[in-house]
């Protein structure tokens, strides 16, 4: 760390200057404890504009940047398929790493990198910013306190207007690069479900459907089975124009009540049998973002984006290895995604009498190339009832 006016500054390089990268860059640069050491991107054009107008050091070669600069940390916001390699290089040099979501495209990579980070005792974080949304944090607090009794089911949803017609030519439209609504949208509610319920023991009924895209999924539906008989449903559609922008929401049912939350508010219904936490009463309780949100030092596009950067910087400063969204927790989400991709290939698990899977219209089912080390689905036995998951 270098020093400016007596405060030791954390030197960070930002890698990848797409939509997320640029917004991270602005927040990193505005952070009073951070010195922006360099930016790195494959587009010489974007680098040239930034160098010309902001004077930042620029690199188009990531490895060269790591060799040449004395860094404390890197923030990686490149296309998802490049995450694993870049994270590994940074970890091998003992750097702290913030990586955009999804963490990796392979459960094996995610596990390996998590343990490498542990060995090196560095601070790691993945950009699941919803864990920094006040309302979603309040859900976590209430569930952990048992406010709605025993949780039986949690619904995770995400909708928004991203792919609204059959076109598009970026990496987000190629499945092998981590495109599609599964990685881009569904990862968010899945990560919240991991936070609330832990790691599922299985998934079933996964649909990775197309609405407009030829190669990738535009809608995602699945059932997740958790220990103790809890279940979750995930419902995601990024071809839904009725939403002005991406909306993520959570609904949790328990024996003593129900919780609904989105970015703006939390609505909690507590039955008479519930033990109401401080500030809550039986019946309806509504709390808004104005009371659930902590102020941040620099606001760009929602407190949660700033808060996650502030959390990362604070952990580096305080040498706190454990924290919100460390690699291990993001690896859980990567493993769920891998299970869902494998499961989606099965199609219906129970067929109508006399049904023939070959006769089933396949046009809406996506064929995924499975990431490495994902369990391959067993051949479907037609017409046979099958039970999976559950406890």
């Amino acid at each position: 760390m270098s020093s400016r006016s007596g405060v030791s500054m954390i030197k960070i390089a930002v890698v990848g200057l797409g939509k997320m990268g640029l917004s991270h860059l602005a927040m990193v640069k505005a952070h009073p404890e951070v010195e922006l050491a360099a930016v790195c991107d494959s587009s010489g054009y974007v680098l040239g504009v930034l160098r010309k107008y902001t004077g930042v050091a620029t690199y188009s070669d990531y490895e060269a940047m790591l060799r040449e600069l004395e860094l404390d940390a890197v923030l990686i916001a490149t296309p998802s398929r490049t995450h694993a390699g870049m994270v590994r290089s940074a970890l091998e040099r003992g750097l702290h790493v913030f990586c955009e979501k999804p963490f990796t495209l392979s459960a094996a990579d995610a596990d390996e990198l998590s343990s490498l980070a542990r060995q090196r005792a560095v601070v790691t974080q993945v950009g699941y910013h919803n864990r920094f949304v006040g309302a979603f944090g309040e859900v976590k607090r209430l569930l952990d306190a048992g406010a709605i009794g025993t949780v039986t089911h949690v619904l995770g949803e995400a909708y928004g207007p991203v792919v609204l017609k059959a076109k598009g030519g970026t990496w987000r439209n190629r499945k092998e690069e981590g495109g599609g609504a599964l990685y881009d949208y569904a990862a968010h509610p899945l990560n919240l479900l991991n936070w609330y319920l832990g790691e599922p023991i299985g998934v079933g009924g996964t649909v990775l459907g197309s609405v407009f895209s030829r190669e990738i999924d535009d809608e995602v539906h699945s059932t997740l089975y958790f220990p103790g008989g809890k279940t979750s449903r995930i419902s995601v559609n990024w071809s839904d124009e009725s939403y002005r922008k991406m909306t993520t929401r959570i609904t949790a049912w328990g024996t003593a009540g129900r919780i609904f939350a989105d970015r703006q508010e939390i609505q909690v219904y507590l039955r008479d049998t519930a033990i109401a936490p401080d500030g809550y009463e039986h019946g309806w309780n509504v709390r808004y973002t104005t009371e659930l949100t902590e102020p941040v030092g620099f606001y760009l596009r929602g407190e949660e984006y700033s808060a996650q950067i502030e959390h990362f910087v604070a952990r580096i400063r305080d040498r706190t290895i454990d924290g919100i969204n460390a690699f291990e927790s993001a690896a859980e989400t990567d493993r769920v995604i891998a299970m869902m991709i494998a499961d989606a290939q099965r199609g219906a698990s129970t067929l109508a009498q006399g049904g023939d899977i070959a006769a089933e219209p396949a046009k809406r089912r996506r064929r995924f190339r499975l990431p490495r080390l994902v369990p391959q689905p067993a051949p479907q036995s037609v017409g046979q009832f099958e039970t999976r998951g559950g406890a």
């Binding site: 200057l17 797409g18 939509k19 640029l22 917004s23 860059l25 602005a26 927040m27 640069k29 505005a30 587009s43 054009y45 974007v46 040239g48 504009v49 930034l50 010309k52 107008y53 902001t54 004077g55 930042v56 207007p161 991203v162 792919v163 076109k167 598009g168 030519g169 970026t170 987000r172 881009d184 002005r244 922008k245 909306t247 929401r249 989105d262 970015r263 703006q264 508010e265 808004y288 973002t289 104005t290 009371e291 102020p295 941040v296 030092g297 620099f298 606001y299 760009l300 596009r301 407190e303």
Partner: protein, 294 residues
């Protein structure tokens, strides 16, 4: 500048409190008539400036105002650009440069070709920036736009990146081309002011959240109060009700006692609420009933 400005969040399903409420508003204001009815109610009680995004539906309101020049002789638009979501979604779909191409005027326009093409080649943002501004301003042709704002997502992105020249480029272009004053919306007002000053933008119009509970006032309530007391700029207060967290009377009473506030921008969906807010502001600022500009 009028002292009380009418915002447009309610028309487009922007509600910082509740997505349910936002959706209900979107349904209600799906019909242009419903929007015009509310705008008319505001206009008729002296709230004659409409501070609006460059959402494509605003073009329909522009058409309506253009078609009735006598009815709206004192009507002014304060456009706030760009409407960021259309760009953000386009970037997700087409990448950074692809999205840029999509929003630049169609080929065939000599000016666009020269300004855009050569400016892209020189990595000179001036040409591209002014082209984008012109594209966004197209819908307001022939209408009064005395102040043109840069939206907070862009202002704060540029502020964070340290892309300071962009503020000057924006200011100079809207002054020269539209004979308008530049305005800047921000969630980081105390941090923005010195940068605008450094860029030679004098006595700037800066719109930011200013509310009693410090909601989305980055840098903190105290820093805002200090800036209002000590810096030379024209402040426009938005989110004075903090999305409904502060009761109306209390909110207006507080904001009206702050120094150096040139105007308040507010949104409302009913003639009753518009009248109520107008009366509160008139009372606490001791304004003339017509809320004439100062």
């Amino acid at each position: 500048m009028d002292r009380l400005l009418f915002g447009d969040n309610q028309f487009f399903g922007v509600n910082h409190m509740s997505e349910e409420k936002a959706r209900a508003q979107m349904m209600r204001f799906q019909s242009l008539d419903a929007v015009i009815e509310v705008l008319d109610a505001a206009y008729d009680v002296g709230v004659q400036t409409f501070m609006c995004t460059t959402h494509e539906r605003i073009a329909l309101i522009c058409d309506h105002v253009r078609a009735h020049p006598e009815r709206y002789s004192d009507f002014a638009f304060y456009p706030c650009m760009p409407y960021a979501h259309k760009y953000a979604n386009a970037v997700t779909e087409d990448g950074m440069l692809g999205a840029l191409k999509r929003f630049l005027p169609d080929e065939g326009l000599m000016d666009a070709a020269i300004r855009g093409g050569s400016s892209m080649a020189r990595k000179d943002i001036e040409g591209v920036t002014t082209l984008l501004i012109d594209a966004e301003m197209k819908m307001f042709e022939g209408l009064r736009t005395p102040v043109i704002f840069l939206q907070n997502v862009v202002v704060d992105l540029l502020l964070g990146l340290g892309f300071k020249d962009a503020f000057r480029i924006f200011a100079e272009h809207v002054q020269r081309r539209y004979d308008a004053e530049p305005g800047f919306i921000t969630m980081n007002m105390p941090a923005l002011l010195p940068v605008l000053e450094e860029q030679g933008i004098e006595n700037p119009i800066v719109c930011s959240n200013i509310n009693k509970i410090g909601f989305r006032m980055c840098g903190g309530l105290e820093a805002y109060e200090k800036a209002l007391r000590e810096r030379r700029f024209r402040a426009i207060a938005m989110s004075v009700f903090a999305s409904g967290a502060v009761p109306a009377e209390e909110a207006i009473e507080w904001v009206c006692t702050q120094p150096n506030i040139a105007a308040i921008v507010f949104g409302a969906s009913s003639p009753r609420n518009i009248g109520h807010t107008r009366d509160l502001v008139a009372r606490h600022w001791e304004l003339q009933p017509d809320l004439a500009g100062v």
